[in-house]
Amino acid sequence: MIEKQYNITSAEGIHARPAAVLVGALAPYKSEITLEWNDKKVNLKSILGVMSLGVSSGASITISANGEDEEHAMAKVAEIMETQGIGN
């Protein structure tokens, strides 16, 4: 299992567009990928789960991946965080 912390810098947090881009890009991976914030953990491949969390700007979140392609999945997360300006 790999785990990484991110600080959310996007002004809109992880809401509409950023959430859709993240979730959409992670669908092909086999690993279990989760997002944890405020003691709540959701499936990062679930648009409803991610949106229901309502992660706001400035939040510190933990993303973890567990499975055969966990490294690739985490690399994808990092790429999207950066290219979409969601967080670092």
Partner: protein
Amino acid sequence: MNQRLSGIAASNGIAIAKAFRLENPELIVKKTSISNSNAELKRFESALDQSKSELEKIKAQTAQQMNDEEAAIFSAHLLVLSDPELLGPITEKIKLENVNAEFALQETANMFIGLFESMDNDYMKERAADIRDVTKRVLAHLLGVSIQNPSMITDEVIIIAEDLTPSDTVQLNPQYVKGFITDIGGRTSHSAILARTLEIPAVVGAKTVMSSIQNGMIVIVDGLEGDIIVNPDQKTIASYEDKKARYEQQKSEWAKLKNEPTITSDGYHVELGANIGTPKDVAGVLEHGGEAIGLYRTEFLYMGRNQFPAEDEQVEAYASVLKQMNGKPTVVRTLDIGGDKELSYLKLPKEMNPFLGFRAIRLCLEMEEMFRTQLRALLRASIHGNLKIMFPMIATIEEFRQAKTLFLDEKAKLEKKNIAISKTIEVGIMVEIPSTAVMADIFAKEVDFFSIGTNDLIQYTMAADRMNERVSYLYQPFNPAILRLVKIVIDAAHKEGKWVGMCGEMAGDEIAIPILLGLGLDEFSMSASSILKARSQILKLSKKEMERHTETILSMSTSQEVETYVKKISVTE
């Protein structure tokens, strides 16, 4: 034959075509036990697949006809349909509880709908509507009920509906959808605005069309007058065909004026600008030959979200408008929120008289940090074009001075940091409160320009709430009281060498235009789609001639007298 109905004229033009009722079928879900859960799962998957392929089509069509941003809503719908958190429980219910797919879907979806609806945030609440929307699509497939997709219409029709949701409206293909009529809505409802953008005729708020128009009936929609004729006879059709041809010819003649300056028959130039709400609106302004933006309402940047827009995001929006306008004057109004316009994240207490309450500049001066952020963003964007800033709802000179001081303070701070700022930003005010109109001579010494906001000026001068239908007879743009106030403002400004614009509905009105020209108004700002019509009218008017009528008009007693008089003189001249 010839049944006549009427509503609110929402988008110009005339269309004659068959009626197409856009209905929301009622989907009734019953819980049943199933014996073969594998077959039930297959049935569910096939309904999902059908729904997804429909959504893909709608998405592609929206991207092509509108833009990627409007299409994004359907990407989100597609993601919901492959969401493991939604599909997991449904599959489980079918397998373990042996319930039918319809019931399993509805129960699971309702859980999420309830979750989103209970959130203390308008944006999240709207997401509940999205889940409902996609669920409905799958349910309809399961139940074998056909759900109508406006984008799948391939025949020339006029849409008849109770109301159109944003996702219905983005799917309307102007190639086939010749017009629409709805029972509810007003001129500023989402569907009306979209109809004007797509340039299809529309009448909204017609109240009884759903109960009186059947599929396939021939309908005439007159978006110029707000009239609807059901089952017209040949003679009526012919007369509307004629009216339609005249309108279209006029429109193509107006189109020739796109790149022409607005000069009266006696050689006097006025500026025709447009009112906009977002950077996306600029394209329409240029397309309709706008010479300026007379009002950029910045509130839309602040609406439909959780928190104030960040400074950088604002810079981006303002710079985008300025760049697109390519040096043409662009008047940006600072945040005008409060009253009837609320922000969910700005918890303001309910007021007895919101229009007379804590709003616009009053609120900005108290929430100084938020206001300073907007001013900084405007200053930083200013190098990209010809920026002018105006403050809304100014009632006293102190309010203006206070706002201007904050502006100068932020400007000095940015200059100290060597950030590039335009040297020619003008700072003016909206004149929409009678006290300010009366004191215009005092203001004119300190402001760079005035912009008269007639919607509010009329409401405040006549003491008539414009939302209250029972006093709507007092909403009188041509009441000499209003015209005299306008004259005071224009005269005071010109005495100090300042210019005056107008950015209410009145600026694009064909009766108001000759009067305003005579009074000496310098800039007229209106809906983009009204610009060419106004230009064609002004080219034929003589300013000197209109000036001669001014005294007569201002000494009249009623709004009605003024209207009758102007109609008469514009016909004879």
